[in-house]
C-alpha cells in the first residue's frame, strides 16, 4: 500500500517544478523564428567565435580571433575585402550576410571540452549565435560539434586534424575545412620515401588522445605501404612535459626514424628532447637517424626554435604560398596586424566566408539550407587551390602541403619551407574508409 502524502507546500513545489519543466522547450527555443533556432530578425546576425583565449593554445586562439575579426570586417564591407576578392563564388557583396550586418560574440574554450561546450551553449542560448566556429583541438571540436548538432546550430570547425571529426564523430551540422590525419599520412609518405628511402624502421611516440591515435594510425599505414616497418608505438600522456624518459628508449630500439605524433606543447617538448639526445646526429642501420612531425604549426615551430630545422611535416596552408587567394589574405592580415597569419587563422577565415557564402546561396541561415548549400560545394580562390566540400562527411578535399623546417630562416615567421604541394587526388579516400570509423552523419537539425 502506498504511503504517498502531499501537503500544500509540496504541491506548490511540485507544480512549480513541473511548470518550469513544461516551459523549458519554449525557453530553449525562445529565439527561434522562421523554423530554426536563433533565426535573425533584426538588422544584425550574430556569429559565435569559440576559441582558446586561455590555456596552452591561447596564442593560436588569438590568431584565430584576429582572422575572425578580419572576416567580419570584410563581410561588412570594411577593409580591402581580402579573399572575398579571389573567392570563386561571387555571392558575398560586402553588405553582411543576407543584408544583415555581421556581429559576433566570443567564447573561451580553454582547450577543454567541457569549457568549450559551456561557452558554445552560452553563445547559442544567451547571445543568439546562429553559427558557432572555432577550436584548436580535436577533442574540443568533436564535443562542440555534437552540441551544435543537438542544438540545431551550424558548426564550422577551426583547427582540428583528427580523422574522428569528420569520421566516426561526424555530424550533419558540422563542417571541416582543415585537413586531417589521413591526408597528412598520404601526403607525407611519398615525400619521406623519396627523402629517406623505403627501408626504414620507425618508432612512434603518440599523444594519448583521439588526434594522436588517428594520426599515428594514418602515418603508420601510409609509411608501411611504402615499405617502412614500425618497431614500436608508445602512447604518451597529454599532460607530459618532459619526454626524456620516452626518448631514451628510442636510442636502443633499432629504429632509424622517430615519428612524433604530438602537437602544441607536446611537440615542442618532445622534439626538443629528441634533438638534445642527439638522435639526429646518430647513424643507425647505416642511415642517418631522422625525425618526422606529421602536423606542423608555424606558431608551435617557433616554440621549438632551431630544433625544427630540416624536419619534415605537413600543414594545411602556409603564408608563403603564391596563389592570388593566399597573397590577398596575407596582405590583408599582415597590414592589419603586422605579421603573417598562421594556418589556424587561414582556416577559420575561410570557414567564416564559406558559411556566409552558403547562407547567401541558400537565401537563409536555416541550418538545413546551409548544409544543402555546402554539401558538394566546389570552390577556389581561398588559398588551397580547387576545393570540394564532400557531402558524405562534410570534409574539405584540397591540396596538402608537405613542409620542412627551414635551415636558414630570415625572420621569426620564416620557419618552414614548402617541399611539395601534394595534389588533392593523392589524399582523397572513400567516405567509408576503415580509418574513419563507422560514424553516422545523420540529418541536419534546424533545432525546432
Amino acid at each position: 500500500m502506498s504511503n504517498f502524502q502531499m501537503n500544500r507546500r509540496g504541491l506548490l513545489k511540485t507544480g512549480a517544478v513541473m511548470g518550469a519543466g513544461m516551459a523549458m522547450p519554449t525557453i530553449l527555443t525562445a529565439g527561434s523564428h522562421g523554423g530554426y533556432v536563433n533565426a535573425p530578425t533584426g538588422s544584425t546576425v550574430t556569429l559565435g567565435f569559440n576559441v582558446p583565449q586561455s590555456g596552452p593554445y591561447a596564442d593560436e586562439g588569438a590568431d584565430e580571433l584576429r582572422a575572425y575579426l578580419l572576416a567580419v570586417k570584410h563581410l561588412n564591407g570594411e577593409g580591402d575585402g581580402g579573399m572575398m576578392n579571389t573567392f570563386s563564388s561571387k555571392e558575398l557583396k560586402g553588405n553582411g550576410i543576407l543584408g544583415r550586418e555581421v556581429v559576433y560574440v566570443t567564447g573561451d574554450t580553454q582547450t577543454k571540452s567541457d569549457a568549450a561546450r559551456a561557452s558554445a551553449q552560452s553563445m547559442i542560448q544567451k547571445d543568439g549565435a546562429v553559427m558557432i566556429t572555432g577550436g584548436s583541438s580535436s577533442g574540443v571540436a568533436v564535443a562542440v560539434q555534437a552540441l551544435c548538432q543537438e542544438a540545431g546550430i551550424i558548426f564550422m570547425a577551426g583547427l582540428t586534424h583528427s580523422n574522428d571529426t569528420t569520421g566516426k564523430d561526424k555530424k550533419a551540422n558540422g563542417f571541416r575545412h582543415f585537413f586531417n590525419s589521413y591526408m597528412s599520412g598520404a601526403a607525407l609518405a611519398p615525400v619521406l620515401e623519396n627523402a629517406y628511402g623505403n627501408d626504414r624502421v620507425a618508432y612512434h611516440l603518440t599523444a594519448d588522445y583521439n588526434w594522436g591515435w588517428t594520426t599515428q594510425e594514418s602515418v603508420q599505414a601510409a609509411t608501411e605501404a611504402k615499405g617502412w616497418t614500425t618497431v614500436a608505438n608508445v602512447l604518451t600522456p597529454l599532460t607530459a612535459t618532459d619526454f626524456s624518459s620516452y626518448i631514451a628508449p628510442v636510442l636502443n630500439s633499432g629504429a632509424d626514424v622517430l615519428v612524433l605524433n604530438h602537437y602544441g606543447g607536446n611537440m615542442i617538448n618532445s622534439l626538443t628532447s629528441a634533438v638534445q639526445f642527439g638522435l639526429r646526429d646518430k647513424l643507425v642501420n647505416d642511415k642517418n637517424f631522422e625525425i618526422v612531425v606529421p602536423l606542423y604549426s608555424r606558431l608551435m615551430a617557433r616554440g621549438a626554435g632551431a630544433n625544427v630545422k630540416g624536419i619534415y611535416g605537413s600543414t594545411n596552408w602556409h603564408w608563403s604560398l603564391q596563389d592570388d587567394g593566399s597573397k590577398a589574405f596575407v596582405k590583408s592580415f599582415g597590414e592589419e596586424y603586422g605579421f603573417p597569419p598562421s594556418q589556424a587563422a587561414h582556416t577559420v577565415y575561410c570557414q567564416t566566408l564559406l558559411y556566409a557564402d552558403a547562407c547567401e546561396r541558400a537565401g537563409t541561415h536555416n541550418p538545413c539550407g546551409v548544409v544543402e548549400a555546402l554539401e558538394g560545394f566546389d570552390f577556389d580562390g581561398l588559398g588551397n587551390g580547387p576545393t570540394h566540400y564532400r557531402a558524405g562527411d562534410h570534409q574539405c578535399f584540397k591540396d596538402v602541403l608537405v613542409v620542412r623546417g627551414k635551415e636558414n630562416p630570415t625572420s621569426e615567421f620564416d620557419l618552414l619551407e614548402i617541399v611539395e604541394v601534394t595534389p588533392r587526388a593523392q589524399v582523397e579516400y572513400p567516405v567509408d574508409h576503415p580509418m574513419m570509423g563507422d560514424g553516422n552523419l545523420g540529418t541536419c537539425n534546424p533545432g525546432t
Binding site: T239, A248, P249, L251, G265, I268, R302, G303, G334, S411
Partner: protein
C-alpha cells in the same frame, strides 16, 4: 641492461628537478608551516628571469636592408643586438651564455620576490588553517601565471644552452658499453650536477652556519627560540627568500631542457607535492630522497617493455600513475612518509 641504466640516469636527472622544487617547498613548510601552492609559480618565474635576461641582451638596433623584403614586400628590417654591435665577439658570447648568466639576475630577483610574497601576503595566513593557506597560495599562483602570460604570451619561448653544451656525452663507452648505447645530453648532466650542488649548498648552509643553526632550532621549537630573544620571524622570512631562489634557479637552468611557458609551474606543482608527502612533510632529506626515487621510477615506467608488462595485467598507463601508486603504497606502509617526523600536520 644499457636501456635500464640509461633510464636510471634519466630518472636521477628528472628527479633532480623534483628534488629542487620539493626542497624549497619543504623549507617553507618546515620553517613557516605554510603549504605553499605558489611554489611552482616561483619555479616558473625563475625560468622567465632567464627569458627576460635573454630579451634584455637581445635588445637590437634596427637597420633597413633595401636589398631584401619582408612578407609584405616591404624592405626588410634587420635586427642586430646592441651587445653584438658594441662588444663584437664578446657580445655574441654573452648572448650564447645568457641562460647561465641569468642566474646572476635570478638570485636577487627571486629572493626579493620571495620576501615580498612572504611579507605582503603569506604572513597574514600563518595562523590560519592549511586549507586557507592552500587556497590563497593557489590563487596567487594563478595570478602570477596570468601576469606572465600577459607579458610573454602563451607559447613556449625557446632558450638555447651555450653552444659548448649542445650535444650528448657517450657515457656507455666510459664504462665498457657499446658506442651510442648510453648517451646523455650535456645540458641535462649539467642540470643534474647543478641541482646536486644547490641541494648540498642548502644543507651546508643549514648545517654549518650560525644562521642555519638558528633556523633549524626554530624549525624544532619556534617558541623557545623566540623566548631567547632571537628574531626568528626575520630569519624565516629570509628562508622563504632562499626557498624562492632555489625554485627560481631550478627554473632558470631548466629552460634549455624544455622551452618555458607560463604554465610550467603548475605542471611541476602537483608532482612536487607528492614528492614532499612521500619524503615526509617537513623532512629536507626526505624531499630529496623522494624526488630522486620518484624520478627514477617514473623513467623506468616509461619504458615500452614495462608499459607492455603492466598493460598485460590491465594497467597500460603505468607511466602516468606510477608516482601516485607509489605515494599510496608509501603512505599506507609509512603514513609519515619515508623520512617524516612525528607531529608534522598531525595536530
Amino acid at each position: 641492461m644499457d636501456a635500464i641504466l640509461l633510464q636510471i640516469i634519466n630518472g636521477l636527472d628528472k628527479g633532480s628537478a623534483y628534488a629542487l622544487i620539493a626542497l624549497g617547498l619543504t623549507l617553507i613548510f618546515g620553517t613557516l608551516g605554510v603549504v605553499n601552492f605558489a611554489h611552482g609559480a616561483l619555479f616558473m618565474l625563475g625560468a622567465f628571469c632567464a627569458v627576460t635576461f635573454s630579451k634584455i641582451l637581445s635588445i637590437s638596433q634596427v637597420v633597413i636592408d633595401p636589398t631584401r623584403t619582408d612578407f609584405l614586400g616591404n624592405p626588410l628590417k634587420v635586427n642586430t643586438p646592441y651587445v653584438e654591435v658594441w662588444f663584437g665577439d664578446f657580445g655574441t658570447a654573452l648572448l650564447d651564455w645568457s641562460v647561465p648568466l641569468s642566474i646572476l639576475m635570478a638570485i636577487p630577483v627571486m629572493i626579493l620576490i620571495g620576501i615580498i610574497m612572504e611579507r605582503g601576503l603569506i604572513k597574514h595566513f600563518y595562523n590560519r588553517p592549511h586549507a586557507d593557506q592552500i587556497l590563497v597560495t593557489f590563487g596567487l599562483a594563478i595570478v602570477i601565471q596570468e601576469i606572465v602570460k600577459a607579458f610573454f604570451g602563451a607559447n613556449p619561448i625557446p632558450q638555447a644552452a651555450p653552444d659548448a653544451f649542445i650535444g650528448s656525452l657517450d657515457l656507455g663507452v666510459m664504462v665498457g658499453f657499446a658506442e651510442n648505447a648510453i648517451i646523455y645530453p650535456y645540458w641535462r648532466l649539467i642540470y643534474f650536477a647543478f641541482s646536486a650542488l644547490i641541494i648540498a649548498g642548502v644543507f651546508a648552509f643549514l648545517r654549518f652556519t650560525t644562521f642555519g643553526m638558528v633556523v633549524r632550532a626554530g624549525m624544532a621549537d619556534r617558541e623557545t627560540v623566540g623566548l631567547l630573544g632571537i628574531n626568528i620571524d626575520r630569519r624565516f622570512t629570509i628562508m622563504f627568500g632562499v626557498a624562492a631562489a632555489v625554485a627560481g634557479l631550478a627554473g632558470v637552468m631548466y629552460t634549455p631542457i624544455n622551452p618555458p611557458n607560463y604554465h610550467m609551474g603548475m605542471d611541476f606543482l602537483v608532482l612536487s607535492f607528492v614528492v614532499v608527502v612521500v619524503g615526509g612533510m617537513g623532512s629536507l632529506p626526505g624531499a630529496v630522497l623522494a624526488g630522486f626515487l620518484l624520478g627514477v621510477l617514473e623513467s623506468l615506467a616509461s619504458m615500452p617493455e614495462i608499459k607492455n608488462l603492466f598493460g598485460a595485467i590491465g594497467l597500460p598507463a603505468i607511466d602516468q600513475i606510477i608516482i601516485y601508486l607509489v605515494a599510496v603504497i608509501v603512505l599506507l606502509v609509512r603514513p609519515r612518509g619515508l623520512l617524516g617526523k612525528a607531529g608534522m600536520m598531525e595536530e
